[in-house]
Amino acid sequence: MKKAKQIQDMISKPFDLLSEELVFIILDLVAQNPSDLKSFSLTCKWFYQVEARHRRSLKPLRAEYLPRILTRYRNTADLDLSFCPRVTDYALSVVGCLSGPTLRSVDLSRSFSFSAAGLLRLAVKCVSLVEIDLSNATEMRDAAAAVVAEAKSLERLKLGRCKKLTDMGIGCIAVGCRKLKRVSLKWCVGVGDLGVGLLAVKCKDIRSLDLSYLPITGKCLHDVLKLQHLEELLLQGCFGVDDDSLKSLTHHCNSLKNLDASSCQNLTQRGLTSLLSGAGCLERLDLAHSSSVISLDFASSLNKVSSALQSIRLDGCAVTCDGLKAIGTLCISLREVSLSKCVTVTDEGLSCLVMKLKDLRKLDITCCRKLTGVSITQVASSCPLLVSLKMESCSLVSRDAFWLIGHKCRLLEELDFTDNEIDDEGLKSISSCRSLSSLKLGICLNITDRGLSYIGMGCSNLRELDLYRSVGITDVGISSIAQGCCHLETINISYCKDITDKSLVSLSKCSMLQTFESRGCPHITCQGLAAIAVRCKRLSKLDLKKCPFINDSGLLTLAHFSQGLKQISVSETGVTDVGLVSLANIGCLQNIAAVNTRGLSPSGVAAALVGCGGLRKVKLHASLRSLLPSSLINHMEARGCSFLWKDYNNHNNSNTLQAELDPKYWKLQLEEDIEL
């Protein structure tokens, strides 16, 4: 009798058999997709509670709901408030009170309107706070920094662009937070040698230190390089760091692995030699945009670090052939080389560099316009392990070279052939790279649907495809991609003038699609958009600029189905007030661009602005600035929305669009613009 009742109970409450631990394991697996998690928690009351107990990290869309959210999720450890532009002191005190003991990290990098008082609540209440991101708090002063210093257990601190902070504030943090491990002071232009020096003296555990764009000299580096555990030192754009101040530098910072001295205009070979002299275990070196010529002498300063060096970036440097040759022979364990925008790189230099680099994984030769097929052939034959190859605008490279790349480097995952002469045969050979995930074929005028069909058949792992202005592409090529690459997340078919709704319908099969850019596709209509909106549930970025047949009905479908949309551009489309206002239905929407959209009236725009609660950026025509009520603009700005007023005038007639769609005309114009 009793047993029967138990069985009865079990049938009526089948989930009682599940232990909480088991559900947690299930939740770990479900957690990949937020909407799945939502469905799970709505199953029954118990699931709802279990899900609340399980969740550790939160990224709320609105700060208003923080009290309720944090009451439900009691175990919140990571709180990312980067979607909430307006976080008041009250909100912070709510965070402190409700999840004080469990909270470990807070991200306030995109938030404003909190003050020292709110931070004090956070610092005092959240005793186990380990990480805080206060980047972009441009109004933050030393008093607030002194409050941050109360968070004694802090290990990771980001203060990027806190421009009003001075040495005094950093001094307080240095004394208060002794456990700091990773500190970023990028763009804190008020902090100098004294503050950084004190930080290095007081916080002995620092592993990573970002001092980019600080007005420091080499003086504080004497203290910084004494840190026993320092692994990463970023000195990007530190103009005060010069050879003389580093002259007497003697250090043995064997822990240093990553050094970024890019854009240090006053640092030349002499200073670099003393900087590198003690860093024997350096793995990554960034010297982009440095003033010195990468010559044979320069390469000799790498002598000390050559054994362990794995990555070197020389973007925008004046590189000589001898220098590259010396680097190639000295640093044979290099895995990553970046020579982006080094206009002086020649075939001989690159060939000598890669000759012995059997382990090379990543090569960036973007805009090295002198390179031809000779050096690319050398790269393909010497570096069989290549994973990433970026060679945008190497337009002298012959078609055969691409065939060789696909043939020799089978492990490629990332390829950037933007503005190159690659053709269908090249694509056919590249399609044999099974693990290819990102392929950029923008402005490749020689490729056609046939080439894309090879990619569709071979590269099933493709996540990102860029076909910007590759005008040889039609619906056939896109449909073969959609069929073969079901993991596609990002696609750009801007200015592919032959694309129609058929492509969009076939792309709607890619259920993972997140970013869809179809700017300047004159043939796509709302029917195609509806297909994407209905089937691609993860859609978050949408660019419909200059698609004249997109109108309100398309936006209404979007508003109904694409609840995850964050960014949309409807400039120069047929959208009117009705469509724009309907977007208010999408809760996550953050960015709207609606410039030169003729059907919009000021009142319609105003209604849409008020309706979309989470807006962060709005791009509108400058004429609307005077037409919209100033109280509304103030209200929006107080809510954390910034306006971009564009005042270019659209000569909106079909001729300009036609002209823009013609690649030859467009390229000519671009070159004229550059020459001007």
Binding site: P67, A117, D142, A149, E150, L194, G195, G197, V201, E637
Partner: protein
């Protein structure tokens, strides 16, 4: 009479350091007088006095131990400590008495053959023992300008002025009317008024030797000066004697190191000086010390403050109040600007954890209750003012902030000074 005075201070000091109870009898700081013992010239009478005292002390100790034996050896903690202290002091006394032999032997051997002068050694020592309570024997750092000068002992003539002579406002006196002058030249100018015989070029000329003390017959020998204060590094009996170059050096050194600091800065009312020139130098820059540490020390230069903070554990830079709350601070600052530094100190917010925690506990509860309604209201109306905090319950935070500031201000004088170093250091 002299003998007693010679021995007395040592005796007293000995008692003070040994028993630790009758400290009040004597104002002398223990350390200073031990130094005095060490550095004093070897004197058989002093030695004898010390020895007899030690004998007496040992007898006392014997008696005490006998007494304890009589009580079946029950040794209480207090008694044990007493005995240990006594023994320690005897050992110290023994060492220092023996040690006093060494330098004086050296001194005798090196200076005796030369023509070194010890004008008034006895008196100087006496004077010194009387002014011992002026105390600052620790300030040896000052007047080290001639530290680098390494004259071999005996190669120069040593002079030692009396305390009165050093502290006298005038050193040159008119023999006719008795008027005093600081400078010899001024006296000569003055003398012209007393008759034509003082107007001759010979009378107005600078005398060939500056000093009129007896025994300055050897003009070739360099003159150096000794401080009359026994135990001072500038005293000729010190083991590592550093002579002073001029009389002015002697005067400044003696005033700075061994005299009361009687001149107080009229601006900050905290800094004190014994040399009036130092006061004037300070007053020029007083009030410019805007770099403040949480311990209350001010610095005129930022790098000095950071050096100080790097050196001491637990000290933090103090953020000026005007930085924390612009409007309120600005008004208060305007009001107090005339009063100078002491007010500035009080106006600094140090955000000490204690005060912060208190403020938090007291205000956290009402905040949650109030907030629930006002927070959601804050976003609805269109008439939104950017400058305002919106609907956010402003008063609560203002209160807490005000409390914070007041508590921090209340704390700062207590925390200030040397005490906080020991409190906060780990």
């Amino acid at each position: 009479m002299e003998d007693e005075e010679e021995g007395e201070p040592n005796l007293h000091v000995f008692k003070a350091s040994s028993s630790g109870k009758d400290n009040n009898n004597n104002n002398n700081g223990g350390q200073a007088s031990v130094q005095g013992v060490k550095a004093q010239a070897w004197d058989p009478r002093t030695m004898l006095c010390n020895l007899s005292f030690m004998e007496q002390k040992i007898h006392e100790l014997q008696g005490l131990v006998h007494l304890i034996l009589g009580r079946n050896g029950q040794l209480q903690d207090e008694q044990q400590q007493l005995i240990t202290a006594d023994l320690t002091s005897i050992i110290i006394q023994l060492i220092s008495t023996a040690g006093s032999l060494l330098p004086s032997v050296n001194m005798l051997s090196t200076t005796a053959p030369g023509s070194a002068l010890f004008p008034f050694p006895r008196e100087a020592n006496n004077l010194a023992s009387q002014t011992l309570n002026n105390g600052g024997a620790s300030q040896e750092l000052e007047d080290d300008a001639e530290e680098g000068e390494n004259l071999p002992p005996g190669s120069y003539e040593i002079k030692q002025l009396e305390k009165e002579e050093i502290l006298a406002p005038h050193t040159n006196f008119c023999t006719i009317c008795g008027k005093g002058f600081k400078r010899d030249a001024n006296l000569r100018m003055h003398m012209r008024g007393h008759g034509d015989q003082y107007k001759t070029p010979a009378a107005l000329a600078k005398p060939p030797t500056k000093e009129t003390l007896p025994g300055s017959d050897a003009p070739m020998l360099i003159k150096r000066y000794s401080c009359p204060f026994p135990g001072c590094k500038r005293n000729k009996d010190h083991k590592r004697f550093q002579p002073l170059k001029t009389i002015l050096c002697v005067k400044n050194h003696y005033k700075r190191t061994h005299c009361d600091k009687s001149f107080t800065c009229s601006r900050c009312h905290t800094k004190k000086f014994s040399v009036i020139a130092d006061l004037k130098t300070h007053e020029k820059h007083c009030g410019q010390n805007k770099w403040l540490c949480s311990c209350g020390t001010t610095f005129s230069r930022k790098d000095k403050l950071f050096g100080h903070i790097a050196l001491f554990q637990g000290h933090t830079p103090a953020i000026p109040l005007e930085d924390t709350k612009p409007s309120a601070a600005a008004s208060s600052q305007r009001g107090s600007s005339g009063c100078g530094n002491s007010n500035n100190n009080a106006a600094m917010v140090s955000f000490s954890l204690g005060s912060a925690a208190n403020a938090n506990q007291e205000t956290s509860q009402p905040c949650v209750m109030d907030g629930k309604t006002s927070f959601e209201e804050s976003f609805s109306p269109l008439s939104f003012d950017i400058c305002n905090f919106g609907g956010f319950p402003r008063s609560i935070f203002d209160d807490s902030f005000q409390m914070l500031i007041s508590s921090a201000c209340g704390c700062s004088p207590i925390n200030g000074g040397v005490g906080s170093v020991s409190d906060t250091s780990l």
